[in-house]
């Protein structure tokens, strides 16, 4: 089987392995991700999503099973090499800003990897222009909005020109505008660079943008598939503590109320379109 850019093979991880009563945070999970894909990892609180993210870049090592990145097994030796190929953005915009100003922060990963100064200057500029934050390069973090800080964090992750970008609930602490900014940035990046993106999220509307969704439930992989296939499971997802996208909930409610809608809708626009058609037929 083609193991792609990143793969998990029967990975199990338990935080307190000695304690028999603790159930594994991640249990027997397998999946593989191909170059250039956009994957969404969804699941209720405590379903093991962040643990998976940490296993992906060697912040944690699996108790059982294997994690492979770009064909290499994750070990102490390959760890730093792998990390330099993988950008990661976390939830809290304040707690991942290391530098004194925007440009210092973007340069942080480059400094750590011993990149020479002239190349650093180029890369910082390139990364900042990819997230449209060049004008803010001398700004200090407390003068930026949450969305701007997250875009800087993305630039910081991109500076090393990684093959893979992991976003662990990167939009969950932002206001709607900040969220749109970040999602737009990612969409644009994927178009221009073909970056592989793994976004971990609670928000199924955000997940609907991905090509493939992996649903986690209590440390196990529940289902995996295209957004349309996954969302067909409607109630099953709601019972697991996930919120369906607004358009889908609306469709279901309308159907229950006897409105004869034909299809499932993931975006507001699609729903509105069908409602128009429905209205003109009636």
């Amino acid at each position: 089987m083609n193991s792609g850019i990143l793969s998990f093979e029967n990975v199990t991880f338990t935080y307190n392995a000695e304690d028999e009563k603790v159930r594994p945070a991640v249990a027997n999970v397998s999946f593989s991700i191909q170059q250039g894909e956009w994957i969404a990892l969804v699941g209720h609180n405590g379903s093991g999503k962040s643990t998976i993210a940490k296993l992906m870049n060697g912040l944690l090592f699996p108790g059982e099973g294997n994690v492979k990145v770009m064909g290499q097994a994750m070990t102490e030796e390959t760890l730093w090499e792998i990390r330099s190929q993988m950008g990661m953005v976390f939830q809290n915009p304040d707690n991942q800003f290391v530098g004194a100003t925007v440009q210092d922060d973007v340069a942080f990963a480059l400094e750590n990897n011993g990149v020479p100064h002239e190349i650093m200057v180029e890369r910082v500029h390139e990364a900042l222009s990819q997230v449209k934050m060049e004008d803010y390069k001398d700004h200090e973090p407390h003068h930026l909005s949450g969305g701007q800080k997250q875009r800087v964090a993305i630039a910081g992750a991109l500076a090393m020109r990684p093959k893979l970008l992991i976003l662990d609930e990167a939009t969950s602490m932002l206001d709607p505008q900040g969220r749109t900014e970040v999602i737009e940035t990612i969409r644009r990046l994927r178009e221009s660079t073909g970056l592989t993106v793994i976004s971990i999220t609670h928000d199924l509307e955000e997940a609907a943008l991905a090509e493939r969704i992996i649903v986690m439930n209590q440390g196990r992989k529940h289902v995996e598939g295209s957004p349309t296939d996954v969302f067909k499971r409607g109630n099953e997802l709601t019972e697991m503590g996930l919120d369906l996208p607004f358009a889908m909930r609306m469709t279901h409610l309308l159907q229950e109320a006897g409105v004869n809608l034909q299809e499932e809708h993931m975006t507001d626009d699609e729903l509105v379109d069908e409602l128009w058609k429905f209205y003109s037929k009636a």
Binding site: L59, W80, Q96, V98, F108, L110, G114, P116, V121, E140
Partner: protein
């Protein structure tokens, strides 16, 4: 009150002094502190004062602003002056009012010591006013570089300093939020006897500490993910460049020393 205090504050600008290499400025201040002690007579102190005013002028920081911002320091200065004035009992008796005797030597010492104090405060304030904290950190890191040989964790200290500086506004914001949250729950920090007020601070500090630890943990993870593994093999994004003006400033200081030495009695 706090807004006016300029001790330790940075005022961005584009003067000759602002543009100097932080290493040169730090060296300059340390050498200056030593040189001040060469002066031991009126001419010496007058030269020092003149030199200091020249530096202030070059930094384009208004003298009024400097004096106004250093008011609390002046209280200390006046206090030192009177201490010497009243308690030195050497030389001729100049004045005797009631129980206070003022001697010539007392007046001399009073003026000299407070001038010395004044020039030191001015020069160090000029350093912090014209250099951003992060540049000072960079300067210190490079100047202390040689001490890495004796296992002094220079890089780590500098990184700690810059991260602390970076988090000051964040933690200030947070303190404000917690304060409001506690006030909304009926806590009263602004009034009451001292003991009550101190007690009211505890519920402010505990959440602040908890969140600071959480932040530290997140930050450590974010740093590790971005490949941080200590100072070894790291390159620097911020470059310092030492220019002719920086060398000249130190030459100027050598000149000052020579002149002071010449007039020394």
């Amino acid at each position: 009150m706090m807004e006016k205090m300029i001790f330790g504050r940075f005022i961005p600008g584009d003067s000759l002094v602002h543009r100097m290499d932080p290493r040169a400025k730090i060296l300059f201040v340390f050498l200056f502190i030593a040189i001040v002690f060469v002066a031991n007579n009126a001419i010496g102190y007058a030269i020092l004062l003149g030199f200091t005013l020249l530096v202030v002028f070059l930094s384009k920081i208004r003298l009024y602003f400097l004096i106004n911002g250093l008011k609390p320091v002046f209280i200390l200065l006046v206090f030192t002056f009177f201490l010497h004035l009243f308690f030195t009992r050497e030389g001729d008796l100049l004045l005797s009012i009631w129980v206070i005797d003022i001697y010539e030597e007392g007046l001399r010492q009073g003026i000299f010591i407070s001038t010395r104090f004044l020039v030191l405060v001015f020069i160090t304030s000029i350093l912090t006013l014209t250099t951003s904290p992060i540049s000072i950190t960079d300067g210190i890191e490079i100047l202390l570089g040689p001490f890495k040989k004796i296992k002094l964790p220079v890089h780590e200290l500098a990184l700690m300093m810059s991260i602390s500086l970076r988090f000051i506004p964040t933690l200030m914001d947070e303190t404000g939020k917690i304060l409001k949250a506690q006030m909304a729950r009926g806590s009263d920090i602004g009034s009451g006897p001292m003991k009550e007020r101190v007690k009211a601070v505890v519920p402010l500090l505990i959440p602040l500490f908890v969140s600071a630890f959480k932040r530290a943990e997140d930050l450590a993870t974010a740093m590790e993910v971005r490949g941080y593994r200590g100072g070894e093999g790291r390159t620097r994004y911020r470059q310092l460049n030492w220019r002719i003006a920086d060398t000249l400033s130190l030459v100027l200081l050598a000149g000052l020393t020579a002149i002071l030495w010449y007039f020394r009695t």
